[in-house]
Symmetry: D2
Subunit: 380 residues, 4 copies
Amino acid sequence: MSKPLTYAMIGGGTGAFIGEVHRHAIALDSCATLVAGALSSTPDRSIQSARMLGLPEDRSYSTSQELFEREATREDRVDFVVIVTPNDSHFPIAKAALEHGFHVVLDKPATHTSAQAQELADLAVSNNLLCCITYNYTGYPMVRQARAMIAGGVLGTIRKVFLEYHQGWLASDLESTGQKQAAWRVDPDRAGIGGALGDIGTHAENLGAFVTGLEAESVYAVLHSFVPGRQLDDDASVLINYKGGAHGVLTVSQICIGQGNGLSLRVYGDKGSLIWNQECADELVVTLLDANPITYTRGGPGLDNDAIISTRIPQGHPEGYLEAFANVYRGVTDAIRSMHGAGEPSRLARLIPTIEDGRRGVRFVECSVESAAKGRVVCI
Amino acid sequence: MSKPLTYAMIGGGTGAFIGEVHRHAIALDSCATLVAGALSSTPDRSIQSARMLGLPEDRSYSTSQELFEREATREDRVDFVVIVTPNDSHFPIAKAALEHGFHVVLDKPATHTSAQAQELADLAVSNNLLCCITYNYTGYPMVRQARAMIAGGVLGTIRKVFLEYHQGWLASDLESTGQKQAAWRVDPDRAGIGGALGDIGTHAENLGAFVTGLEAESVYAVLHSFVPGRQLDDDASVLINYKGGAHGVLTVSQICIGQGNGLSLRVYGDKGSLIWNQECADELVVTLLDANPITYTRGGPGLDNDAIISTRIPQGHPEGYLEAFANVYRGVTDAIRSMHGAGEPSRLARLIPTIEDGRRGVRFVECSVESAAKGRVVCI
Amino acid sequence: MSKPLTYAMIGGGTGAFIGEVHRHAIALDSCATLVAGALSSTPDRSIQSARMLGLPEDRSYSTSQELFEREATREDRVDFVVIVTPNDSHFPIAKAALEHGFHVVLDKPATHTSAQAQELADLAVSNNLLCCITYNYTGYPMVRQARAMIAGGVLGTIRKVFLEYHQGWLASDLESTGQKQAAWRVDPDRAGIGGALGDIGTHAENLGAFVTGLEAESVYAVLHSFVPGRQLDDDASVLINYKGGAHGVLTVSQICIGQGNGLSLRVYGDKGSLIWNQECADELVVTLLDANPITYTRGGPGLDNDAIISTRIPQGHPEGYLEAFANVYRGVTDAIRSMHGAGEPSRLARLIPTIEDGRRGVRFVECSVESAAKGRVVCI
Amino acid sequence: MSKPLTYAMIGGGTGAFIGEVHRHAIALDSCATLVAGALSSTPDRSIQSARMLGLPEDRSYSTSQELFEREATREDRVDFVVIVTPNDSHFPIAKAALEHGFHVVLDKPATHTSAQAQELADLAVSNNLLCCITYNYTGYPMVRQARAMIAGGVLGTIRKVFLEYHQGWLASDLESTGQKQAAWRVDPDRAGIGGALGDIGTHAENLGAFVTGLEAESVYAVLHSFVPGRQLDDDASVLINYKGGAHGVLTVSQICIGQGNGLSLRVYGDKGSLIWNQECADELVVTLLDANPITYTRGGPGLDNDAIISTRIPQGHPEGYLEAFANVYRGVTDAIRSMHGAGEPSRLARLIPTIEDGRRGVRFVECSVESAAKGRVVCI
């Protein structure tokens, strides 16, 4: 194992959810060490959170701006920054990070507009920096297995794709209770134009694109805000026309009482099908025409190398969400090492989602919102 | 147990699928006896099939017309007729049956046009006859349980409905192999304007209506014929706007390799949700807001009377498709007895689907086909 | 379809459970017609029950003895008798039936002692009559598939067998509430020496023997009566040494709260394994060494002829307990026709469980009870 | 978050399986840092493995003896040692560690004999040191939920316990292929007197004891070595008499083709039951008498505090084996901090399995092996 890289975190202080997830995911494989942070939008809480995480005082910054400026001058400057703030600040912070020469790992959805995402993409290219979006569900071994099988032609020509991401936690007016995670997600200023669509729809869109390789041509969307008073969608149904003739049905909802994190994928080709469900992430059911379903399992027989390198422990010993997330980070740190001269990027590095995937996700939200508003099909 | 009624069957001779299903379903509870038939569209095969089923020679008819005319004059005329011919002949045969004074049980989809269905409905009313459509999935005890719970307000106001009916048996060009079941279903002359939509979409639509009581206001549909050369849809995605603001996503497909008879229903209200899957028909999962999922099972605790009276054997001893189908027939024969003076219709009788449900199903197909053709929302 | 046979039922009147199951199962395929009965142990209730079932008055008998005597003299005497009385009367009634020349279908457990079962077996042979035991779980298509695959060597040499039959309905003192089904099952005079062991353990034992073909050599059993005051076992754990070196673990219990009818079978050989669970009866999971699990389904691809002929409707349209039960009856009526000169017995006829299977089940109970009493291994 | 503790690892070098698991588990929550090691039984490979893990040269030891001696003299000596060598060296190494004043985390089974385990227990007490056994399955949130519910009386008096641990990876003669994990596990010199029994049976035994709190009084066991030439058991069936009258059936096997890591627990009391299955570790199904099953999920409603504090991420985002393992380590480091003066042990600290649990596991193996050899019940 090579020496761990170092990273700084922007956002993710006390009370945040996803920041802690990133820290666990990075720690799991000991591939990078947190050494600096600007952990909150308010300077005081930033410092306080840094103290709780045991960061050195001189690298506990009040703001991201301060972090970038000071870290940029250090000899032992961090190798990359992880941005886990609410959506509205993704763009300016990521832009500043790239401008200061830092590799960036950005939570989804990348930005508020696809133009912003494009700007980040261009900036990353011109500065020769990594800009990765943590579409963490691509890190699941059986998702990578699914992708490899489709790429290998096992399913033949893809005809139909069902993508679902159903949660129930916003079925009631949670935002009015002061629940912080709910509050910013339903606020257009912070979340952007998509509610459920931006929060989880982008994950579903990306999962479909990652696994099938299909490109959306146009969408027809219907959005609802079922909880009274809510401004953004908490439920979306999107019909997708893919280039080449395949069709997709993507439904996302956060009012599905009883659903925890119901992300699933079903792909039907002319030679076979596959079904994957995030809540049983270690399984992938594949059925060929006129044959019986075969259940592939993480760590089991017959897997593609992409699945094998994305697993740590044997069949039947469940790996979960954090392990999948960590697989993305293993790829990120591999990619950074490679960019720093450690040779060709590893296979793990080549599987990570980039700002281009992020841009496509934001574009998907934009087109869906437009379609829903106009009541017609909108081209991507 | 009262004396069994008698019935005649139109269609359902050798090589047919659904006719035999009806016969099993009727036999299971010994509620009616097959005593006459015009079992095929060709006179010779009608007679031959009647012989194989052990029908008396004098009630083995060459044509439905002959059957109606002769049976109408018999003192021991059949109590009802079961029509299980391909869709195109449903209307003229059912009409003739009603005109000759016979109660009718008609397979779905009721007719080719909703106007025809309306005509049958009117005729049934004016002749004081029963005209039932075998939407057999309404016969499942746990479907009836779902309906009762929603009617009882357990789920609160319904917001979202997911209806799926996914099969894989038409994923390849089965019709060209001479498979009889495939051949007529993909032929517009015999099947009507809907392919998968008419064949199984009507079941899904009816299941949704039966369980939720919601009324569709408009639909937006996209149809595909994925198998090259196929004229009718083998895949349909329909977004449904219900009166009152609920939204539905109904997807039907016959190209989903690996799916046997994947009919499922998920209903989300503001107080709770329920999930039912035909392939695990004895279970119903209900989750209330902020509570854990409870699995109701046929024969188990806490069931509504509608579920209890629709079951024969204890919990854990699976009942299936034929038992559900038979529950519809128990209702049919109860209804006929009641119309013949045996008192108020039983609860089972009041649960059966009628020609009005059939008409609504045909209308649903018409509007979906129109929406798909025009690329816009169509009012029901 | 040939002309239905006729049968008489002994026991199974009002309030009985299993008699109605037999009647449904026989009716489903219209293979026999109930025309006579002695439906209760008390003459009055026999007559009353016969009336409710619509039996002709002259064939509504007060006692089984009367039935046998009178039917034996009729020209149109019944083809077979179905005996569904409590266990204690199985032997004398079945013996009388065979002595009067009737084919017999007997519910399990066959008799109180294995010697009695042997006597019935001998009598059946010498009188050239059928004596079938309704081990109905052998009628499931996927059980027959399992049997065929093991017989075909798919699993290699069998090493380990897990048989479970767990129910929860006797977890409390139901017998004191007047529940009729509970009362006789826990009464040694009527049930015999085995409680759960006789009632459901014999089913599990037979399922194992039917599917694997293995012969038990010796058993070690531990019995419990967990509900205070209960005389017979309501929980049994039996370790089975099979001839040839395989080992079995059979557990039956009626105090497993939450279990409906949890009968399952897992067989492990040196080349593969199979798992079947009665509550998902249409599925069979088969895994070969170093390969992924394959799910076979009733009506699906790759099935043995024994499974194919035991199914009525397509994949995904669930068949259940009554259909499996009916498969045994299709075999019974085929067997009787064959014995009456209709040619070689059909494959269905050759799959039915006989009094020899019944005898083995009773012997299994006897040995298990002895083992539990003595605290040591007992040879079968 | 407090400053991480430091630890040394004994065993767990290149090619080992469980050492890496421990390292991942410790890293996940950043609760301790690996700073020293004697990673292999051969000095050269120890040093090489240490280099691969990035350990400082002066703390990369050739042998455990060297590690204990040198670390004991350092001011910054490690806080605890993790022992993940093959079973045969557990006792001498753990003894030496305790004698040198180090807290010990020991993989299961604790030792070869229960007397050795007792000696370690005594030593730990007299030296005021922690000696924890990584019965990692006790770390699953829903296992802790199960324990809390039973302790809270939800299930009433426990009657029956089913414990299964079925794997398939040793179904063939893997040890002859040079597979290192297989080789030592089937070698009595290294593994001890139990094969599957020691390797996974101890996990199952401990899971049962942890969750139910029941104490075994006596056992009856049957062992098999199904793979030709194998000396130790690869399949064991153990009937357990618990104090107070409950009964247990524990089956472990490593020849169950198709089973990955099939550890499951079913507990039946007189008021209710619960079922947990390691491969769906986030779920716990609880059924009360005369009620329907309720599915509790990690992160979901209605959980005990023990489950809540053992979880990191929301419902529906799967946590797995490593997270459960990490929960044990969170408890270990909490316990050590507490022993070092950080106040009362946390709840997590009080949930960790100790050498006394380890001793009981070894005793269970000893009694089972004796029972199998003598063919009779053996008192614990």
